[in-house]
Amino acid sequence: MFDFGGTDGSPGTSQNVDSLGPPNIRFKTADDANIDTNNPIPVPTSGTKYSYWKHIYLKCTGAPSSQCDNFKFYTDGSGFGTGITLKVGDEMPTKNSGSSSGYEVATGTEGDTGDEMVANHSGITSSTDAFTYTSASPKSVSVSESGNIIDAVGETTNYLVFQLEVDSTASPGNLADETLTFQYDEI
């Protein structure tokens, strides 16, 4: 799922990305879920341009037998190439079936750059290149539901906050798709 729009603590839309693609998510300089070529991230002559950040999480849409736990996130480790970095916030702001309190609306200038998330998202104090997380070294994903497990329809993980960074060494054009994966245990 991908939350966007609305106001801090109250996203305007919760989009099931399964129905969008592939690709299912596109990083751009706008806060929407459209898979299109509008509002690309410009390659700067110097410094860094940012996508708008994205709040992404898993939501239970079919009742598990008992529960799901042990959530992890990883990539294939390859990355998007020179000058392009996908960052994920080290913290996971609160998201659960009763609250989106960790949500903060993505900000920036459409068509130019998003605001950098560590400096502008109050729930994120540091970030890591998402492609350092692989199946052999994943990022643990926290849950703020009762018991820190998901055991009912509508329950969720906390937010993972992503942002794409583009610097002057990047090549222009559309990037090849990359795969991001969640892994969890169900009983």
Partner: protein, 126 residues
């Protein structure tokens, strides 16, 4: 193939608890561990993995799911046991992969794509 995997618990008096029966699903946590002697994973109607247990061996079972943002899903079933033997935690865990092959390890391994530890439930702990 792996979407048709189900378990059957066999008790020491010959009775059993199937995961699915009469349109309802029994939960893994419904298994009476005090009487459990075998735990069987079926693929379709074929028993693919049989775990033999005694009163000291604590059954461990999970359906481990990898779900990519593209919607691709890969599922590995793990079943095995752990026990405290001469003061040492001894484990045996089998992993049933989507292509039907099974890999067995003598413990969970950190930093492995599939063999990493579960979060133990109370009945699984030693």
């Amino acid at each position: 193939m792996q979407h048709d995997v189900r378990w059957l618990a066999i008790y020491n008096d010959g009775s059993s608890l199937p995961q699915f029966a009469d349109g309802t699903e029994n939960k893994y946590t419904d298994i009476d561990r005090s009487r459990l002697v075998k735990f069987i994973l079926f693929v379709g109607d074929t028993p693919k993995l049989v775990i033999h247990l005694d009163k000291n061996k604590r059954l461990i079972y999970r359906r481990r799911v990898a779900l990519s943002f593209s919607g691709h899903q890969e599922i590995v079933y793990l079943a095995g046991w752990q026990e405290l033997k001469h003061g040492i935690n001894t484990q045996m865990i089998c992993f049933l992969f989507e292509d039907g092959h099974i890999e067995t390890v003598d413990r969970f391994y950190e930093n492995h794509p599939w063999f990493y530890p579960v979060k133990f439930l109370p009945g699984e702990q030693i």
